[in-house]
Amino acid sequence: MSESGNGPEEVELDEYLEGDSELSRAYRQTTNAAPPSALDASILAAAHAQVPSGAPKKSRLLTLWEKPISIAAVMMLCAALVVSMQSADEVAPFGQPDAARREATSPAKASGVNAVAPDSELADSRVGQVSGAAPTQTAPANPSLSTAIGVAQTEGAEQQAAAIASPPSVGAQPDVTAALRESMADASGDAPAEAQRQRSAASRSLMTTLPLEELLSNNAPEPEDKTATETDELARSPAARADSEGLTGMSEVAERAPAPQQDAATERFAEQTGVTDESESIDEVIVTGTRAAGRQQDPNARRLANSTVRLDRQLTQAQFETLAKDNPQRALARIAALWDAGERWAAADRLETFRRLYPEYSERRLKAVLPAAMLEEN
């Protein structure tokens, strides 16, 4: 259909398109038809039904990203859960002393030590620990101390220091010395890794069971079970039996106790630290070992010295006085260790306390233990 316009028609159309023409007004009057109200209602109802009332009005952006965000959130939660579970697995041994006890008990059984009653499981684990780690050594009269010291060398400094700081029960000194030697030698790499791991577990168990104050006191818990007592009796070394016979004093015990079996680790330890079997006491070992750590770059010996000093700083005045009253030589050794570690104010403070407790203690005897520079300054 060919549709073309001419001049007057174009003008007529332009007038019409301008709006409000006579034709338009007339057409609008022809009808005012509108859809029935029922039809309106049904359409509006359908429109409202499509959008449920009360539903949150989401933006298009949120609608588009809703699913991806949900998936990402779920994945992040899963990842966080996995990480937390892994962390829990790593921390579990510290939070489960029972597991550590079981772990520490097994070598005792393997070494032939008699089984103990369940209620003395902790004490038994200490015995088994020493027996399993160093079968040729004598079982200590107070095995918990030697075990703790031995383990602390390879574990946390706080645990180690707590074990070393605890005054041993009477007669336990030689065993403590031997355990210290053993632990330092083990830390040098001679002890089997399994034995070290077992001692670590036992140490954790011990440390979570016994507070510092208890270790500092002379009332370390003894196994009450008869079987455990018999086991201890059988396992006691001549030195320990000598202790039980009433011999007190570290030096005397050290002299009377048979020298522990020398092995390569002990020899290396002696070479590195200068501590030998002829050393008179644990205090001497500590002081000598601490100074050796300062001279040499042995990380294990240095760690031992640092942990000892750290514990010394934590000791209250009353605790130090208790320690000094109980064992003057030990107290002087600790003072010397503090001084060597650079804690000069603390060392001077302790020395003043020591002198107040032992005014009759001669300077000559002090010089035998304490550094000369310290005595000059104080």
Binding site: M1, E3, S4, G5, E9, E10, E12, L13, Y16, L17, L23, S24, A26, Y27, R28, Q29, T30, T31, N32, A33, A34, P35, P36, L39, D40, S42, I43, L44, A46, A47, H48, Q50, V51, S53, A55, P56, K57, K58, S59, R60
Partner: protein, 188 residues
């Protein structure tokens, strides 16, 4: 005074869940679309059926609505497609002017001051105009109705009907020429 919200904005709001926007949109286009379909269809019942179908289609596709064209063009395009489909199914005579004019007869009467013969003359003229619209060729009537009922420009009519601007303008020109000529004859 704020400008009225555009049809596209209202439809977007409805798509996003604001059903009150649809109420406004429907109120804007209900009369024009209904009359357009009533003129283009053969019967009121069919017009109402198709009219409802068009609006339900708008409701159904709301979630995927994007502003790609003017809403009026989109709405009347859907209406036009349904009318064409309906014509294909059955050849139905377009609704007569008398049927459409029944609504005009129900309108309020003229003011009392007007003369009865003038009222009758006016009513007769409107009826004549309605008949002239019905008598237009389908394409020309469609162009005229889109202009009058939807307020479309020539370009929008072209877009809606799928022809170029010149064709749409030509259809509209012929429609206006015939209507004016027929109405002038009636007045004379």
């Amino acid at each position: 005074m704020d400008a009225p919200e555009s049809d596209e904005r209202l439809m977007t709001r409805y798509r996003d869940g604001d059903d009150s926007a649809f109420d406004t949109l429907y109120e804007r286009h209900r009369g024009g679309l209904y009359r357009f379909m009533l003129r283009q269809c053969g019967s009121r019942a069919v017009a109402e059926e198709l009219y409802q179908d068009v609006w339900l289609s708008v409701i159904r596709v709301r979630a995927s609505y994007t502003v790609s064209a003017k809403f009026t063009t989109w709405l009347y395009q859907m209406a036009r497609n349904r009318i064409i489909d309906n014509h294909r199914r059955a050849s139905i005579r377009p609704v007569s002017g008398a049927e459409v004019g029944s609504d005009a007869q129900s309108e309020p009467s003229a003011p009392d001051g007007e003369q009865p013969d003038r009222q009758a003359q006016s009513a007769q003229g409107l009826e004549t105009l309605a008949r002239l619209v019905d008598a237009l060729p389908d394409e020309q009537r469609e162009a005229f109705l889109l202009r009058e009922e939807a307020g479309m420009s020539v370009q929008e009519i072209a877009e809606c009907t799928g022809v170029n601007n010149q064709t749409a303008k030509s259809r509209l020109r012929y429609a206006v020429k015939k209507l004016r000529a027929g109405w002038s004859e009636h007045h004379e």
